[in-house]
Symmetry: C2
Subunit: 341 residues, 2 copies
DNA sequence: TTGAAAGCGCTACCAA
DNA sequence: TTGGTAGCGCTTTCAA
């Protein structure tokens, strides 16, 4: 049986209360006594029992404010599912979640939503921040006011946030390059970018181009088009590019616009064109089934949600010196056989 | 705040002890009273608090006997790491692990080791069973004696084991076929089998062949060789096959023998040959770095170990009717860029 | 068949 | 600056 506070108290000839105060530096203990108790605890190999601690702290609920750009977004629906499952697993510890959803990528709107969620008596803020200096500033204000802030799925640099839970976008770009390299070392690639101003996508493209330059010099990027995350725009753009650049045999879709792109490709009957894209959403499975996508690189949204809540909880119960600054979920490559028997 | 036993007791005008006995069917409660208490609990939406329960049960340690063919095996070293991390996370709940390691695949030896581990006062047995009727019989005996048995990494059919934690080997064979199909729809494949009598490998080959037949008719299996999990044997066999079958441009390694196979290939200078294999062990990373492997399909050993301990714990604290019969870890595809920046 | 009460290990509050 | 004690929710034991 592990060492308990009670045992330390007996050994040190003080009360359990004093031991508790000493070990947690709550003050009100004579420095000399505190040192002695600390030494004894160290010596006996004391490790607080987290279950007892949790039970004792049950009264204090911990509420996580979760702010996500998730309206009508299947990726974030998965993420929320993960968060809610984690919440269920931690319910007995008193964990609660207040979810605020928004749509689109407007920093001003996000600032408003942040205010809204802060008004709901939360203990921790977890959000997917937009890459904007106003948001960064707001986050630092919140942290300064004493609240912990966690970033999910997308990080924001130069702030005092506690921890980022998400993937490495540069790496996911490299993976795309590697997959294309495996399929065809002489590939002629059309890149379909969703929105260049999104950090995630620019990082992917950076990783992609770096890897091609360094390791697959035979691969040629024919063109890069921007579809503004819109399927119809993607459809038009890809159709035109395919018509005018018959050498294209590979399409790399960096953001949304997957359905539109695939539609344009399947109408273009001249040759086989492989598609590499991201995530597993809406029609991904169907497109694999029809052979329109060759590979997709997934961000594990469910895991992101689950781990985010888990991390918030960990920080809440003990914000020790060496907590994780980053929890990186692996980029998972999926092919047709990942989905079908 | 959630409903507690105390509240139910007050409402029902009985003591907390009676409520506990009634809800858990511990006996010694008048059937009529028990029904009434049950109804009230149901009505109030009672859900026992797992933290309090755990604290209360702290005295009873739970010891998992873990029997693995892990001597000098890096794959299982990872698995053990996962199990130990899970144990550390559950230490405060009183979880202990007794590890017994063995080497090789001899059922008789495994029977002995099972006896050895049973003598150590364990509450639960978790093992990687060999696919042998004697082992199956032994497992059923153990289960009949009242102990729960879990299978890790490799299942054994037709037994009363509680839960299998591992991957789907048929699927991992299908994935190999899919990857090869992406790289070259006309591939001429040499299959290097480790040991045909291992269920895992025969299942992989089954999945592989099924998928090729159904979906990649252009792929041709030139030959299947058996290297008995031995690198030197693999080296000899592959070297000879490459010499005599110059059309081979793809090698699918189903079990061990990766280093030997790669060595033979790199000595064979005539053309580019892609390699698809399993797991991430010993020299995998190095071989990727040198470009000798194109893709590997990983079983997530760490996760297997972690989830195994977690599942044992879940079953131990409440063996409800609908526990999971299987925990399937995903087969994870890795390529060069999964390992290097 | 039931009630009462003593823990499990930790926190927090009040009194000294 | 300390000690004492009452919980947190559940289990278990002893008496009644």
């Amino acid at each position: 049986m592990a060492v308990t506070i009670k045992e330390i108290a007996e050994y040190a000839n003080v009360s359990r209360g004093t031991v508790d105060r000493a070990l947690h530096g709550r003050g009100g203990v004579k420095p000399e006594v505190e040192r002695r108790i600390r030494a004894i605890a160290e010596n006996m190999g004391y490790k607080p029992n987290s279950v007892a601690k949790a039970l004792s702290n049950l009264k204090k609920k911990m509420t996580i404010g979760l702010l996500l750009p998730s309206v009508k977004n299947l990726f974030f629906a998965d993420l929320i599912r993960g968060a809610m499952d984690a919440k269920k697993a931690l319910e007995d510890y008193g964990v609660e979640i207040k979810l605020v959803e928004m749509r689109g990528y407007d920093p001003e709107e996000q600032l408003e939503k942040i205010e809204e969620i802060l008004n709901q008596k939360i203990d921790i803020l977890a959000l997917t921040p937009f890459d904007d200096p106003r948001i960064a500033k707001k986050i630092d204000e919140i942290v300064k006011s004493g609240m912990k802030v966690f970033t999910i799925n997308s990080d924001i640099h130069g702030t005092q946030r506690c921890c980022y839970i998400g993937t490495d976008f540069v790496n996911s770009g490299k993976l795309a390059a590697g997959l294309i390299g495996l399929m065809n070392r002489q590939a002629k690639v059309l890149v379909v970018n969703g929105s260049p101003q999104l950090l995630s996508q620019s990082q992917r493209i950076k990783g992609f181009l770096d890897t091609i330059k360094g390791r697959y010099p035979g691969i040629h990027v024919v063109d890069v088009v921007v579809c503004n995350e819109n399927d119809y725009r993607a459809y038009d753009l890809v159709r035109e590019k395919l018509k005018n650049n018959i050498e294209i045999d590979m399409v790399y879709i960096v953001g949304e616009g997957i359905c539109g792109t695939c539609q344009a490709i399947s109408e273009f009957q001249r040759k086989r064109i492989d598609v590499v894209c991201y995530d597993d959403v809406a029609h991904t499975k169907e497109l694999f089934y029809e052979g329109k996508i060759s590979a997709t690189i997934c961000q594990q949204p469910y895991q992101q949600g689950y781990h985010a809540v888990q991390q918030c909880f960990n920080w809440f119960i003990e914000a020790s010196d060496q907590m994780k600054d980053t929890v990186l979920l692996e980029n998972v490559i999926k092919i047709r056989e990942s989905f079908f028997e």
